[in-house]
């Protein structure tokens, strides 16, 4: 599991952890039911405070990505494939609407956008 904390990044550290663990779950690196490191161990390894990791885990739990069992630790949440897809879809939608906004600012037509999107899609 790779987590990279940047001190120069403007977003708070708990958010950096939240996003990275979430991405690891979304892209399947962390599988359903897989145990996560304990909050204290993670804090030690990343050299950050325990309440920072605690906050990240709490937010992950709140959003349904992980489950915490008292005395056992935290695990990647189960049966949330639908939820994950939904999450992905939301992200796509958000980014596309940003693109549309930007396109409208410079009178980029829908056809041109579709062409461009097709190009990008195939490139990847």
């Amino acid at each position: 599991m790779d987590i990279i904390i940047s001190n120069s990044n403007d977003s708070p550290i708990y958010e950096q952890i939240y996003i990275q663990i979430k991405n690891l779950i979304l892209n399947g690196t962390l599988k359903e039911g897989e145990p996560l490191p304990s909050m204290r161990a993670l804090a030690k390894d990343l050299r950050i405070s325990v309440i920072t990791t605690k906050r990240a885990y709490e937010e992950l739990e709140r959003d349904g990505f992980i489950e915490t069992v008292t005395g056992k630790g935290s695990f990647v949440g189960s049966n949330n494939l639908e939820f994950i897809k939904e999450e992905h879809f939301k992200e796509v939608e958000e980014n596309l609407s940003l693109a549309v906004k930007a396109a409208k600012l410079c009178d980029y037509s829908l056809t041109q956008m579709i062409e461009f999107l097709t190009l990008l899609y195939e490139e990847n």
């Binding site: 403007d10 708070p12 550290i13 708990y14 204290r40 161990a41 804090a43 030690k44 050299r47 950050i48 405070s49 325990v50 309440i51 920072t52 906050r55």
Partner: protein, 285 residues
């Protein structure tokens, strides 16, 4: 029992200095950073916690027990490291261990030897021949070898080089892996605390100025850099302190999110604990 240490309304009057209603709590399983400039009252507070001085007023509870009524057993649950090594100069580390094993009922000789090993401390060398860093490490080894639940560190990392400080911070991280363990750590090396501390209490002239989770503090405080004419636009209730020179003003504010919204044209930097100390220290100038 949620708190490991509770200090409430601690007051002590000295000639020319007073601790003025100092209150803060250390939660179990957390590390509290205790910052303040020299002479702000950090060591006096720690002495009061250890019942070495008698406060005029206020109450201190350690692990739920009043510290003045404390039993021997309770005292054994506290590990203390001062900024200087107080062991006898002519003894070596091994003899010091033997000595301490007669004092603490919970003394763990294996643990002590492990720490000596880990810290590369020669057990047969006399303490007066140890370097400053070695003495500090010896004090920490001794403080941790009787299985304390609360560790009080008074400037334990000052005067040490970054490599040794880093090793010691690692030991503290190990200590805190147990959720019942807590640390109160006074230091003016704020960068150490910026990593390790969960909570930070800032004392200035014998008064507690702020005591909050470190993340909240770093999230809320910011330094606004602006011109003198822009300075007047900043809401004065958010200003903590400022510095000005011929060309610009630097203002420490305690409400970063509003500042980002309202003063978007000004440069807003994150404040470090050191900045916060500096600006509060300049108060009234």
């Amino acid at each position: 029992m949620e708190y490991c240490l509770q200090v409430s309304d601690l007051t002590k009057q000295y000639n020319g200095f007073c601790l003025d209603h100092v209150s803060f709590d250390v939660k179990q399983g957390s590390i509290m950073g205790f910052i303040g400039e020299n002479g702000a009252g950090k060591s006096t507070t720690i002495k009061a916690i250890l019942n070495l001085i008698h406060p005029d007023d206020g109450k201190i509870q350690i692990l739920g027990e009043d510290n003045t009524l404390q039993s021997r057993e309770c005292k054994e649950l506290i590990g203390v490291v001062f900024d200087e090594c107080h062991f006898h100069d002519n003894l070596n580390a091994e003899e010091t261990g033997l000595f301490l094993s007669k004092i603490y009922t919970n003394w763990d000789d294996i643990q002590y030897k492990n720490y000596l090993n880990k810290f590369n401390l020669p057990p047969k060398k006399r303490i007066k021949e140890y370097s400053r860093g070695m003495k500090m490490k010896l004090s920490i080894a001794a403080a941790l070898s009787h299985h304390p639940k609360l560790l009080l560190l008074d400037e334990a990392t000052s005067g040490l080089d970054p490599v040794i400080r880093n090793e010691i911070l690692d030991v503290f991280y190990d200590f805190i892996q147990d959720e019942e363990h807590s640390i109160l750590m006074s230091s003016h090396i704020t960068s150490d605390l910026e990593h390790i501390a969960d909570y930070v209490t800032f004392i200035h002239n014998g008064k507690i100025i702020l005591s909050d989770s470190k993340d909240n503090i770093l999230e809320n405080y910011a330094i606004v850099k602006c011109t003198k004419s822009e300075f007047s636009q900043i809401d004065s209730s958010h200003i903590v302190g400022f510095r000005s020179n011929a060309y610009s003003c630097e203002v420490l504010i305690n409400n970063r999110s509003t500042a980002l919204k309202n003063y978007s044209r000004m440069t807003i930097d994150r404040a470090t604990l050191e900045d916060i100390m500096l600006y509060y220290g300049k108060e009234g100038m």
